[in-house]
């Protein structure tokens, strides 16, 4: 049945595209450096391939959800990592998207506080106008040579 085959192809193409976008996100975030240690987030297992979820909102617009696992319980470092993730993806994702970033459930005592902060775009914008914070974030998201 032609129509059936056609729709199966479309579905596969949709999934393939989503998979590609997922990989693109993963490629962008895995090289982000940890604010404290001279390692990438991937090396420290703060982010993994499976921590990125991409959902289609409508044609050409996607919801990207990142769940990361901070290495230390310090709130400020976890928030800083969240900020780096947001800045890197916001700047570099080549497709139209909405972004949500969360700490993976159960990995942090104040995850709700942190999740709320890093998903508040006004707080993020103000933070990036603070020269000290901005410097740290820029160092962490700098593409490796």
């Amino acid at each position: 049945d032609e129509e059936f085959v056609g729709s199966r192809h479309r579905e596969t193409r949709g999934h393939t595209k989503q998979r590609k976008l997922q990989q693109k996100c993963g490629d962008l975030i895995r090289t982000i450096r940890d604010p404290e240690k001279p390692n990438t987030l991937e090396e420290l297992e703060v982010v993994t391939e499976s921590c990125v979820e991409v959902q289609e909102i409508n044609e050409e617009d996607y919801l990207v959800i990142i769940r990361f696992t901070p290495t230390v319980p310090h709130c400020s470092l976890a928030t800083l990592i969240g900020l780096c993730l947001r800045v890197k993806l916001q700047r570099c994702l080549p497709f139209k998207h909405k972004l949500e970033i969360y700490i993976s459930e159960g990995t942090h005592s104040t995850e709700e506080d942190i999740n709320k902060q890093i998903n508040d775009k006004e707080r993020v914008a103000a933070a990036m106008e603070n020269p000290n914070l901005r410097e740290i974030v820029e160092q962490c998201v700098l593409e490796p040579d």
């Binding site: 404290e36 909405k98 709700e112 775009k121 020269p131 914070l133 593409e143």
Partner: protein, 503 residues
Amino acid sequence: MGLFPSTKCLPPAISAPARTTSCSPPRRPCRTEGRGPARSALTFQQIRVHVAQHVGDPQLLAGTGATVDVQPGRLGEGGAQRRDGQGAWQRRGQATLRLLGQSAASRAPPPAPAGQPCASGGVHTRGRPPLLRGRCWSPPTSAGRTEPACPGEESNALGSRQAAMKDSLVLLGRVPAHPDSRCWFLAWNPAGTLLASCGGDRRVRIWGTEGDSWICKSVLSEGHQRTVRKVAWSPCGNYLASASFDATTCIWKKNQDDFECVTTLEGHENEVKSVAWAPSGNLLATCSRDKSVWVWEVDEEDEYECVSVLNSHTQDVKHVVWHPNQELLASASYDDTVKLYREEEDDWVCCATLEGHESTVWSLAFDPSGQRLASCSDDRTVRIWRQYPPGNEQGVACSGSDPSWKCICTLSGFHSRTIYDVAWCQLTGALATACGDDAIRVFEEDPSSDPQQPTFSLTAHLPQAHSQDVNCVAWNPKEPGLLASCSDDGEVAFWKYQRPEGL
């Protein structure tokens, strides 16, 4: 310089008086070809020092403030959520249970038209699964994923309804108000002839009509060192106030097409999020991430004096607005509440706290009479609250001489992301919302509905009104149906709203 063009220059520290050209990160994908000269990178030791300075601060996202002192005491200050021993999620969960309990007890709401979510007074009524989660800040599970309202056309009736709702908002024009940046807020002057816009490029722009198009009449630069978050016109239309992330509020005096900064109000510890003039013209309110609301008095000589610092909120205060005809002030906060303040014996006091939203309340709007207040939130709902004075007919209890406020309507299931602004038209009573899903919506109250439990219907829904989040919607105060909106994409758009037949 690295591969990110934005690393060419950094915003100035707040203490530096000199102005620099603004540079915010360009909103385009990073390029990997072509590299500039390498910038000397901070060593990891230096980064560790910076980070150590911030470790004492549980609220890391500190905007202003060149240095952060490590204050061990502040570690415990994670906000009211932890103080009472209950997690924030538990409190929100209880709020949800209370609401669900109410819905069982109340009388049956009017049935929704097929496939169309509707709102009814006092309770949630939805055609779709509830958007409120017990834990607002946990990642969505695949089962609980919220759906945008009206996804796809299920029937011809729904399709033509959607088309009608798109047609009720007609685009009149767009201007690139804050290019390469975001536009945060808009304000019409009282005469309705000028529109002020402000944004991440640290500028305020004044727009006016010239024939059929909107042109930029003035640019107010060099007033602020950081993002300008909100602007507000004085009731006489001769002054404009601008609130900035640089922790100051500038007062500009209008002299034909020129604006001159006549005063800078300082005092807030960090970003000022909102500014509002009282209808009398003698009072100004500001609010900040420092959790406080300040009330300022202005005299005939344009002298400003802070008459009150209100510390009722437990978190970042996002918005302040004055009642249209009483000296009553309302504030919206990251602590999920709305608070009301009035003057009592020479000092300002908090006279009411409105609880119910499950996440940050971003904006507020009073209805033309001032009897009702609309609030919009990160929890994707709009709530309508009504004032009940002591001795009211409905028998709503009041404590002392202060009126009580009750939530009489909740609009849920209509917005698929955070609602950043709500605007109540003073001429027609229509309610417009600005949403993080790039859409603009308009609601109108059903004329036959009970004033104590009003129902609102969605009369306009324009997806992709902008290419990014809509941050503000503003009704023109003189021309009915004229609506302005602005977005993270830096653009300002003008719309003509007309309630379509049959909706």
